[in-house]
């Protein structure tokens, strides 16, 4: 039984690592902020999900498993918000490159002063 769990862990964690790699390649290769953000958040969230899935069987107790899932949910929430804010800041400062790109103008939401 534990052998099967180990195999699950190895495959899931390596798949997660692959998604992280994809996200990083996206970060380096894509031309501008918005596309990079897209690559990063998508790839990394799935990657982390897979890694957490892989670690669940290794977690000692049920509580440990719940904590791992909490970690993933918190990272999801933080990642989503931050990428929204960076995207709006990028749009506001016109750094997104394609000026003509018809994106929904952010209605008055300016992110934190940083």
């Amino acid at each position: 039984m534990s052998l099967a769990l180990d195999i699950v862990t190895i495959t899931a964690v390596s798949a997660g690592a692959f998604f992280f790699l994809a996200g990083t390649v996206g970060l380096l290769r894509f031309p501008d902020t918005l596309t990079r953000l897209h690559a990063l958040t998508k790839a990394d969230n799935v990657g982390l999900g897979l890694v957490v899935l892989g670690l669940l069987p290794q977690a000692g107790s049920l509580r440990g498993g719940f904590k791992l899932i909490c970690v993933w949910l918190l990272v999801l929430a933080a990642g989503a918000t931050v990428s929204q804010l960076i995207a709006r800041a990028a749009l506001a400062s016109g750094a997104s490159g394609q000026q003509g790109h018809s994106t929904v103008r952010a209605a008055g939401d300016e992110g934190p002063p940083t």
Partner: protein
């Protein structure tokens, strides 16, 4: 050369790489971002060194609050970058500084390697005396009982830094609101996160403080998490920083050191020595001090990041 030490070397290499980046990065904002990453990686190093309490504190302070402070300052000081960069010392000076720093670091590294093999340790003494406080976490025992004076002085240092930051305000703004007034779209994502995350953060913070008695955690990481939640709510504009002359705020700010001093003096008058806890009540007293310290740390760290008063109380 086990897998573990290979991983450790890789971790050390990445940490050194990030440190190099924060020194040579051209733009200060990039260096500050690098510093945040460096802080989080350092927390991993502390976990490898079996110092989980310190890892929690490093992640909370090094990665978290220091990062917020430096990022905020880097953004505000962007205008002064060009003129200040012009004053970069010449090649010889930089070379000399590099050589001398390398020599001092090499001497420091060599002395670390030359430390005696039978490493002297106080772990057995800490373990033997842990019964006096009834707490399981040895680091909390050292912080709250054996070296309690250091912790008391450290809290006074924190308060002093806040008095110093407040004293930098212009005279007319005294008694006003620290930090800028953040406005954000009440329906925006930041406001949404500021409503969603704090309840979770507060539960996690209190759990970390409570677990600190017997497991890694304690007043400091817990207090920092609570401070982060308060800052998030302030940044989302849902609430404003309290005025610095509000009596309630000042009572919270001295709650930590105040309770510590009262319990200490109680020990002096009634008990055996200053800061000595009667064995029967040691644990409840220490927990009470930790709760008061958590409140003080959360308030003080939040206000330290908010900064000097920038808006007068009138508005």
């Amino acid at each position: 050369m086990t897998i573990a030490s290979a991983l450790e070397m890789a971790l050390a290499a990445v940490v050194l790489g990030m440190a190099m980046w924060t020194i040579v990065a051209r733009e200060t904002f990039a260096a500050a971002v690098g510093f945040v990453v460096y802080g989080l990686l350092l927390a991993l190093v502390w976990v490898r060194l079996d110092a989980v309490d310190v890892a929690l504190t490093e992640a909370a302070i090094g990665g978290g609050l220091s990062g917020v402070l430096l990022l905020g300052a880097a953004a505000r000081l962007r205008a002064s970058e060009t003129r200040a960069a012009a004053e970069r010392p010449g090649g010889i000076m930089r070379l000399g500084a590099a050589a001398l720093s390398a020599t001092v670091a090499a001497a420091f590294g060599a002395s670390v390697l030359l430390l005696p093999d039978a490493a002297p340790t106080l772990a057995p003494a800490a373990a033997a005396n842990a019964v006096a406080t009834g707490l399981g976490n040895p680091v909390t025992n050292v912080l709250m009982a054996f070296r309690a004076t250091d912790t008391l002085l450290e809290k006074v240092v924190l308060l002093l830094a806040l008095v110093g930051v407040w004293s930098l305000a212009p005279d007319r703004l005294w008694g006003g609101y620290p930090g800028a007034r953040h406005q954000a779209d009440p329906l925006g994502t930041l406001a949404f996160l500021a409503r969603l995350l704090p309840p979770v953060g507060i539960v996690v913070g209190i759990y970390v403080v409570w677990a600190g008695a017997n497991y890694p955690g304690g007043a400091f990481p817990g207090g920092t998490i609570l401070a982060a939640m308060w800052l998030l709510v302030i940044m989302a504009g849902l609430t404003d920083t309290p005025t610095i002359s509000s009596r309630r705020l000042r009572l919270v700010l001295i709650a930590g050191p105040g309770v510590f001093l009262v319990v200490g003096l109680g020990g002096l008058c009634v008990g055996t020595a200053f800061l000595a806890y009667p064995v029967a009540y040691a644990k409840p007293l220490i927990i009470a001090i930790e709760i008061a310290m958590t409140l003080t740390i959360a308030a003080t760290l939040g206000l330290l990041v908010a900064g000097a008063p920038e808006r007068s109380a009138g508005r």
